[in-house]
Symmetry: C2
Subunit: 339 residues, 2 copies
């Protein structure tokens, strides 16, 4: 495939996406907002954020913001949710020509309750030269980065209001280990992608309490029900939550030992403090800020989300995981009576 | 709790249910159709089918069919699906008084396409003295027996056409590590319980091919969609498949290393023959006959079930797991476009 793509970010998803694009035969630039990290990555081709992974030599790593849009027709946005607005405020005025933006961020912005593609659109509407066009696609699905780094097979969805844009993303990522399907429910795909990290925090706590796979699976089922309730209240299609971007992503996030959110929950339940866990991790644990943002949304839309509320109480209100999870298991599952 | 309950069977679920009933304070009799196994179990309190588990001394183990209904008001039926009819044909004429029958069998009878509670009802309608009344409840949910044997927490559903019967089951199994919720969709709960073993066979193959958690989670999502389609065609409620007896049971069966169906799939993908795997296992792998039965149902009701068809082709038509799973992953997931 011809063309030039820029990956925005230097985290796990940025690295594995750059790898796929390089194999696809696209010219790949990787832009990091951090000059020191960009230069280390450019030299060593290694990142502490993804042990064992080697960035292909063909990927050009830079921290020069002038290079981001230069000759580029595709842009992968792989910035953690709470930094997305700040980064795009710098990028917007640089935009030139038509560009297809593919967002891999999974979270909800605190304060605005915006989904990642909403944040990007909001910023670009204020900052770009109005004649510069762009399309937006959310790329999601069961995609633990540590597995993508080993090029293990994964199925993803490219969700866009424009089927042409979704088709472009599908074609851009056509490599042997990825299978990208088009999807039209952007709201559902992004809400599912954000909220699964909250359920994964709770699932990790069940692991930390050594309560077993039966208990974790019951939690997964109830978690799916509550995030689908929120999604539907936000305008998503219910079906999306039962697809690969819904229950598929939820399952891998709750069960892969390599998931960051699950691991964070497990360490919390083993007695570590949140501060100590987060400061020891080289990557952002999206579920933590997402829990705060989703609690705001649940209240605003009057949606009952007992698992999210329990995770919120553990993270920010000092409740012990043991008490909260026990209380949750004994209370929430009564809902099954409705079935 | 007062009363006397008989557990029919000596497999994994029979053992862990007897354990719960003994702790509940119910008088427990355990009836095995096999005199030699009954006497070994009575003496050693151990079973090769559930290593590490010790049957409480209070459980009275017998192979005397005259004892099954003697003074008993509750009966747990824990016989593998394809032996259910034969065993109940022996039991039916012995029935005396009113009895609440709770079925923990997960499968579909080959030939008749009947669910376990349908088989029991069918046999009893022909064989019992007509004045002997009974109620039927299906007990299901994420319940890997090896975890129940360690008394790890689990959530179950008791599904019955009679809420009184479901309530009885709920009360009968009120022990600290079990939480039983009432459910009214017997069809959905039993179809979900049967079919999850087919998806687990495929999930195990993905493990055997070392394709990773992302791929397995995508398969879980597509498996859920196809078994829900069958369920709805049979008269089940869609919601049931998204509850703990649906996606909850599916998740634990696909992810617990201790699941028999998952393990069987993994060994198949590593190159062992089905005959060699089954003859080495001390317990019935329900997914194998269930695959045959569900393929019949899918054809009869004209429901597309590509994962079931792939598992059927691997088990009974000599297809290699590698080819079948690869073909499945590349074809079936296109359905996501519909979302």
């Amino acid at each position: 495939m011809s063309g030039l793509a820029t990956v925005i970010g230097d985290g796990q998803m940025a690295l594995v996406t750059a790898d796929a694009l390089a194999v696809r035969g696209v010219g790949v630039r990787m832009w990091s907002p951090f000059p020191a990290e960009a230069s280390t990555l450019a030299r060593t081709r290694r990142s502490g954020r993804l042990p064992g992974f080697e960035l292909p030599a063909a990927v050009d790593v830079t921290s020069d913001i002038g290079a981001v849009f230069n000759g580029v027709n595709a842009l992968i946005s792989a910035i953690p949710t709470q930094f997305l607005r700040e980064v795009w405020q710098r990028l917007g005025p640089q935009m030139s020509g038509e560009v297809s933006i593919i967002s891999v961020t999974k979270g909800i912005e605190i304060g605005t309750s915006m989904r990642p593609t909403q944040v990007i659109e909001d910023v670009l509407d204020r900052t770009r030269t109005p004649t510069r066009g762009f399309s937006l696609t959310a790329l999601s699905g069961p995609a633990i980065a540590a597995e993508l780094a080993r090029r293990l097979p994964a199925s993803l969805v490219a969700a866009s209001k424009s089927d042409t844009a979704a088709q472009f993303a599908q074609d851009l990522l056509r490599v042997p280990w990825l299978r990208v399907y088009r999807h039209s429910d952007v709201i559902g795909v992004e809400i599912a992608g954000a909220t699964k990290n909250i359920v994964a925090l709770a699932a990790g706590m069940i692991d930390g309490l050594e309560a077993g796979t039966n208990a974790k699976s019951a939690l997964l089922a109830r978690g799916l029900a509550e995030v689908a309730r929120l999604g539907v209240a936000m305008g998503a299609k219910l079906d999306t939550f039962f697809g690969i971007a819904g229950v598929g992503d939820l399952a891998t996030t709750c069960f892969s030992p390599e998931g960051r959110n699950r691991t964070c929950g497990e360490r919390l339940a083993r007695g570590e403090s949140l501060d100590s866990i987060l400061s020891s991790m080289t990557s952002v644990v999206e579920g933590v800020p997402t829990t705060r943002a989703v609690m705001q949304m649940a209240r605003a839309h009057n949606v009952e989300m007992p698992i999210t509320a329990a995770v919120h109480a553990i993270l920010f209100e000092g409740l012990s995981p043991r008490d909260a999870i026990r209380e949750l298991m004994s209370r929430e599952l009564k809902a099954e009576q409705v079935g």
